[in-house]
C-alpha cells in the first residue's frame, strides 16, 4: 500500500498503483495515472476510459475484453475494433492501464 498526491490531495493506492478507494477518482487522478503510466491521453484514449467507467457504473463490473473491443470498433471504426489497437493505445494493456486510469477496481481472476 502507498499513497499518491494529486492536486494536493493524498490518495491511497495499492502496490500496483490502483486506487484503494474508488471514490477518490476524478479527472485529475486519471490524468495523474496516465502520466505515471506514460500515456499521452488523446480522445481515443478517453473513449476507452469513458466506456470503462460507464460500463462499470451500469453493471458494476469491468467489461470482458471482447466487449471493450467491439465497443471501440463501434466508436472509432472497425479497423480499431481489435486487441492490437487497444495495445497501441495502452501498451501496458487495457486491464492494467486503462482500468487504472478509469479508476476501476484492480482486475482479478486468473493470471
Amino acid at each position: 500500500m502507498g499513497t499518491i498526491t494529486v492536486a494536493g490531495k493524498t490518495i491511497e493506492v495499492d502496490e500496483d498503483g490502483f486506487l484503494a478507494n474508488l471514490d477518490d477518482w476524478n479527472m485529475d487522478v486519471a490524468k495523474y495515472f496516465a502520466e505515471v503510466e506514460g500515456i499521452e491521453m488523446t480522445d481515443q484514449h478517453w473513449e476507452v476510459v469513458n466506456f470503462l467507467r460507464d460500463y462499470y457504473k451500469q453493471y458494476q463490473i469491468a467489461p470482458m475484453i471482447k466487449i471493450l473491443v467491439k465497443e471501440i470498433g463501434k466508436k472509432l471504426g472497425p479497423d480499431k475494433g481489435n486487441t492490437k489497437y487497444l495495445y497501441e493505445l495502452y501498451p501496458g494493456g487495457p486491464a492494467k492501464q486503462a482500468c487504472k486510469i478509469a479508476g476501476l477496481p484492480k482486475p482479478t481472476g486468473c493470471v
Binding site: 486506487l19 484503494a20 458494476q60 469491468a62 501498451p91 484492480k106 482479478t108 481472476g109
Partner: protein
C-alpha cells in the same frame, strides 16, 4: 517507458530444432523401439540402426541457477551439451553408450537420484504452495519433499505393479493433473471466507464475485454494498477469493490436506479417469506432514501388495471394488466421500451388486 522503440516481441518459443542432440535430429521420426535398461536408463533404437541412450534423474523442480549450471556442466561432459526436462520435472541426459556408466556413477556421486523410468513412482507434479501463491491451503514443495523422502526408493530401485503418478495441488484450483492422478494430494480449506467489509466495495466486482461461487452461496449485501456468504452452502473452494481479495479464506487450523486416488490420464487398457476422494482431511503439520506421508505410503504399500502387474491404482480398485478398498486400507468411509455436487447422482450405486467382505 513508451520511448523504447526497438523492443522485440512475439518471438514465441525458440526453435526446438536448435536444441536437439544430433542423434535425435538425425533420427527424428524414425525411432523403432525402446528398451528399459534400468530404473533410470533406457535405449531407443532407430530404423537407421542408431541408438539413443537416456539417463534420467529427479529434480526438486524448484531449482537455483547454480543447480541448472551444474546440470549444464554434466551435459557438456557426458551428453554433448544437450539435456532435456521431462513433463514431470525430471532431467534427461543423452550419453553415448560408452559414457552411460560413467554418467550414472557421476550423478550418483553428486547425490542425484537416477531413476523414474517404468513401473514405479516418478517425480511428483506439484504447484507453488507457500512459495509463491495467494490461495494455498498447504505448502507444495515441502509436502512433496516429505513424501518423497519416504518413497524415493520407488523412484530409484523398487518396482511397483504399474506407474504410480503422485501429484499435489495446494488448493482447489488444482494446478497440475491432480484430478487425474493415481495419488493426488490436495490442499483444502474447510472454513468459509471472511468478508472484509472495509475493503470489498473498492476491491471487488460484486456481480463477478457472486457468479464465481459454484454453489450459489454468495448473495449481495445491499446494506453494506458488500456480499453475504451463506456458510452452510459454502464448500470452501476459494474461487470467490480469486475474484475478490476481500474474501480471505486461508485459516491455519481449518486448512489441511485431502487425498484422492485412482485417476490416470493414459488410456492404456481403459480410458483416462479422475481421482476419487479417499481421505477427506489430514492436518497441516509442517515441516514433515507425518500424517500425509504415512497415508500416502500406506496406500502405495497396500496397492503394491495386492495389485496385478500392469494394473494402475484405479484399475486395481475397480477390480476389487471400493468396498474392499476401504476395508483393506482401513480408511473409514464418511459422509464426505459421497458426492453431493451437481452431478452426484451419477456416482450413486444403482445396482444391488457388491462384494461383502
Amino acid at each position: 517507458m513508451a520511448d523504447k522503440p526497438k523492443r522485440i516481441t512475439d518471438l514465441g518459443s525458440p526453435d526446438y530444432k536448435k536444441f536437439l542432440p544430433p542423434v535425435i535430429a538425425k533420427n527424428y521420426g524414425k525411432w523403432k523401439y525402446h528398451e528399459q535398461l534400468s530404473k533410470g536408463t533406457m535405449k531407443h533404437v532407430s530404423e537407421t540402426g542408431d541408438e539413443l541412450y537416456t539417463v534420467r534423474i529427479a529434480t526438486p523442480r524448484l531449482v537455483s541457477t547454480d543447480y541448472i549450471r551444474e546440470m549444464c556442466d554434466i551435459s557438456e561432459k557426458y551428453s554433448g551439451g544437450y539435456l532435456r526436462w521431462t513433463t514431470r520435472h525430471n532431467i534427461e541426459f543423452f550419453p553415448a553408450k560408452d559414457q552411460m556408466d560413467a554418467l550414472v556413477a557421476d550423478l550418483k556421486k553428486r547425490g542425484h537420484l537416477v531413476g523414474g523410468i517404468g513401473y514405479g513412482i516418478s517425480n511428483v507434479v506439484h504447484t507453488q504452495g507457500w512459495i509463491h501463491c495467494h490461495t494455498p491451503a498447504t505448502d507444495a514443495s515441502g509436502v512433496v519433499k516429505a513424501v518423497m523422502d519416504e518413497l524415493h526408493e520407488y523412484f530409484t530401485t523398487k518396482s511397483l505393479p504399474a506407474r504410480v503418478r503422485i501429484a499435489l495441488a495446494c488448493c482447489l484450483n488444482m494446478c497440475g493433473a491432480v484430478h487425474c492422478s493415481d495419488i493426488a494430494i490436495l490442499g483444502i480449506h474447510r472454513l468459509p471466507p471472511k468478508v472484509n467489509e472495509a475493503t470489498l466495495a473498492n476491491q471487488c466486482e460484486i456481480p463477478t464475485t457472486i457468479a464465481s461461487c459454484p454453489t450459489g452461496a454468495i448473495s449481495p449485501n445491499p446494506a453494506t454494498k458488500t456480499v453475504k456468504i451463506k456458510a452452510e452452502r459454502c464448500m470452501y473452494c476459494g474461487n470467490c477469493y480469486t475474484m475478490c481479495p476481500s474474501l480471505p479464506i486461508a485459516d491455519g487450523a481449518g486448512d489441511g490436506i485431502s487425498i484422492y486416488v485412482g485417476g490416470k490420464v493414459s488410456n492404456a487398457r481403459g480410458p483416462a479417469r479422475m481421482s476419487k476422494l479417499v481421505i477427506p482431511f489430514l492436518p497441516n503439520n509442517p515441516p514433515r506432514w507425518p500424517e500425509v506421508v504415512k497415508a500416502v505410503k500406506h496406500l502405495v504399500e497396500v496397492y503394491a501388495k495386492d495389485a496385478k502387474k500392469h494394473e494402475r491404482m484405479g484399475e486395481w480398485i475397480e477390480r476389487i471394488g471400493w468396498e474392499r478398498f476401504f476395508k483393506v486400507t482401513g480408511i473409514p468411509f464418511t459422509y464426505q466421500h459421497i458426492d453431493d455436487f451437481t452431478f452426484a447422482r451419477d456416482t450413486f450405486r444403482m445396482t444391488p451388486t457388491f462384494k461383502w467382505e
